[in-house]
């Protein structure tokens, strides 16, 4: 299917679209005065006032099992707060699961648009989907081992979902081709890599060395994902920028 991401067309959003109207619009804006003095910091101040009185997004649920309660108590005696760990584990669980759905969307695009020289293959996308699912399984089991509830939405998970809500949105959009949607995967993989790194540090800090080793293996795999997504984008964008015969096999 032919659909270049950056084809030439009748885009009307810029000021140069209509020299006559834009001249008038600019004159009108220059001649008017604001109705009140100040600048954008007025918005920050209002935000600060609300921040001072509003509560946070929510909390980490208490452990639902006796084992979990015992672990929380031991951690507290050692001066640690296991809730921070559970919060971040909940975040990875949610993100990896969303990651599965993202790669499913990418796979569905591959069937419509095909790939390009240096672009993703079906096998690669399917492998990454499985990796994301197995990382979700790893985190789920880790939370269970700690006596936590892996089905709970923790504040860190909620936050990361809000931050990245545009990614599944873009991947699901039938107007977005495979190369364009890789930008969404790049956003997700960058955040995922950084988050696994932090999780490993935190696991070591809290003395969960076995978990840290498992997580390190997950990070190794995520680093591969990131490198692959970057290389697919680079190959695709460079091909798209070429002309004539050189552009054979460029993304559509």
């Amino acid at each position: 299917m032919e659909r270049k991401a950056s084809g030439l067309g009748m885009n009307r959003t810029g000021i140069q679209t209509s020299p006559v109207n834009s001249k008038k619009a600019i004159e009108g804006a220059e001649q008017s005065q604001p109705s009140s003095p100040g600048d954008a910091s007025a918005i920050w101040k209002a935000r600060q006032a609300f921040a001072r009185e509003q509560e946070g997004l929510g909390s980490v649920p208490p452990p639902g099992t006796l084992k979990g309660m015992a672990k929380t108590a031991v951690d507290m005696l050692k001066g640690g707060r296991s809730t921070v760990f559970i919060d971040k584990l909940g975040q990875r669980a949610g993100f990896e699961r969303t990651g599965v759905r993202l790669y499913e969307s990418a796979l569905s695009k591959l069937e419509v648009y095909g790939t390009w020289d240096g672009g993703p293959s079906r096998e690669q996308l399917e492998k990454i989907r499985r990796d994301e699912l197995s990382h979700f399984a790893l985190v789920k089991r880790s939370i269970e081992k700690l006596g936590g509830d892996p089905t709970a939405l923790t504040p860190a998970a909620d936050l990361q979902a809000s931050l990245s809500e545009g990614v599944p949105k873009v991947l699901a959009d039938p107007r977005v081709n495979l190369l364009q949607s890789l930008d969404g995967l790049l956003t997700a993989e960058l955040v995922d890599n950084a988050s696994w790194e932090l999780l490993i540090e935190l696991a070591r800090e809290l003395g969960h060395n076995e978990l840290a080793e498992d997580f390190q293996r997950a990070l190794d795999v995520e680093q591969e994902h990131l490198a692959l997504v970057r290389s697919w984008i680079a190959a695709g964008v460079k091909l798209e920028a070429r002309l004539g015969e050189e552009a054979a096999g460029a993304p559509v």
Partner: protein, 398 residues
């Protein structure tokens, strides 16, 4: 102690005031609040939205009432703002949608069990089974688009399983118009119920019509289009239960009583003190509106409001899980459809409904596509597949 509608005067209209900050500063927590707090907020937004809708229609048709309606309507608009703005911004449109369907299940189930008129009770059970199915369809969509668990929102109070399948809920308009109660003989609670559920469903329709086009996924866009169409059917059904021969003022009086009743119900069940404060404040505001309209009713129609209103408010809506009731209705009544004003076995559906449904489903059914083979599991349908796998990816990508 039940609330005496004639004795309790509430807050007079000139003391019902707001500021922009007051209207917007309270939020419930998507993570920590009980699911029924969200249910109450969504319900009350619907009740206030109906207050405005009715008030505008009434003002266009009644010269004498235009000014009193404008006065009260402005307060109701601000009440709706305050209520609706309690929905937190980290609650996405599809998450709020799950809340809307939980309202339609649990509030309608409570109403169906308390409704004294057996025909209306049947209508509520009928509609409830359809909304019950919508929860299942939207849950599948949420799980499959974003990999998230619908039970974050539902909190295990409601089952996430198929009801009367959405794809066969489509009926010809003339098979959605019901028989109205008789205003002269109907119990006040019957009138209150009909308005309450009409309000909730109308807002559900309007919400889906607003957010449906914001989705990128084509199945999501079609699913919102499909379910919005059913919500329109539900509004047609529920509004047709009210007696069309009630006068405009009588209807206005009933609206104000419905608002008192619903806020009062919220107040009885609310566990969050910050939000309980809002319900108390608005019970008092609504009592003020009710007494204002009672006076108008006496002056303009020369009738005693006691003809219409119960002395004391009936038992509040029960904001609790009605799982067993819903399951029983599902077992006994999932096979029903409607023909004209009557509920009939699906085998007796009208020709016009069959033709109408076949036409709409001719290119496929979004609700069937979204939930094909879907079974909810704690932690999403992916949790099961994940359990069958190893803990981390083996081998390098070639």
């Amino acid at each position: 102690m039940a609330l005496d509608l004639f004795k309790e005067k509430g807050v007079p209209l000139d003391r019902q005031v707001f500021t922009w900050k007051d209207l917007t500063r309270r939020l419930y927590s998507k993570l920590d609040n009980d699911a029924f707090t969200r249910v109450r907020v969504i319900l009350m937004n619907g009740i206030e939205s109906e207050a405005l809708r009715f008030s505008h229609a009434c003002a266009r048709m009644n010269r004498q009432l235009r000014e009193p309606l404008a006065l009260i309507r402005r307060v109701e608009q601000h009440q709706q703002t305050l209520v609706n703005w309690m929905n937190p911004p980290d609650q996405s449109p599809v998450e709020t949608t799950l809340g809307f369907e939980q309202v339609a299940i649990e509030v309608t189930a409570s109403v169906a069990q308390h409704e004294p008129d057996p025909y209306l009770a049947q209508a509520y059970r009928f509609g409830m089974l359809e909304d019950f199915d919508h929860l299942y369809r939207y849950s599948a969509l949420y799980d499959r688009l974003e990999g998230k668990d619908p039970n974050y929102l539902i909190q295990s109070y409601s089952d996430i399983i198929p009801g009367r399948p959405t794809s066969i809920e489509h009926r010809h308009p003339l098979d959605d118009v019901r028989r109205p109660y008789d205003a002269r003989t109907a119990a006040p609670l019957t009138k209150i119920h009909a308005l309450t559920i009409t309000a909730a469903e109308h807002q559900t329709h309007d919400y889906y019509m607003t957010i449906g086009p914001m989705f990128t996924d084509p199945v999501a866009r079609m699913l919102y289009a499909e379910i919005a169409s059913i919500e329109e059917q539900h509004v047609t059904q529920y509004e047709s239960l009210s007696d069309p021969d009630e006068s405009w003022l009588e209807k206005w009086l009933l609206h104000e009583a419905v608002e008192v009743y619903n806020y009062y119900s919220c107040l009885q069940y609310e566990s969050d003190p910050r939000i309980k404060e809002v319900w108390q404040r608005f019970v008092d505001y609504e009592l003020g509106h009710l007494h204002y309209v009672m006076q108008l009713f006496q002056q303009l129609e020369g009738r005693d409001p006691a003809e219409i209103l119960p002395k004391e408010l009936p038992e509040p809506i029960r904001f609790t899980s009605h799982r067993e009731f819903v399951r029983k209705v599902l077992r006994d009544e999932v096979h029903l459809s409607a023909k004209g004003t009557e509920f009939v076995p699906r085998t007796e559906e009208s020709e016009r409904t069959l033709r109408y449904r076949d036409q709409l489903n001719a290119d496929g059914s979004p609700s069937e596509t979204a939930a094909a083979g879907y079974r909810w599991r704690p932690g999403t349908e992916l949790a099961e597949e994940a359990e069958r796998m190893g803990t981390y990816g083996e081998g390098r990508i070639q």
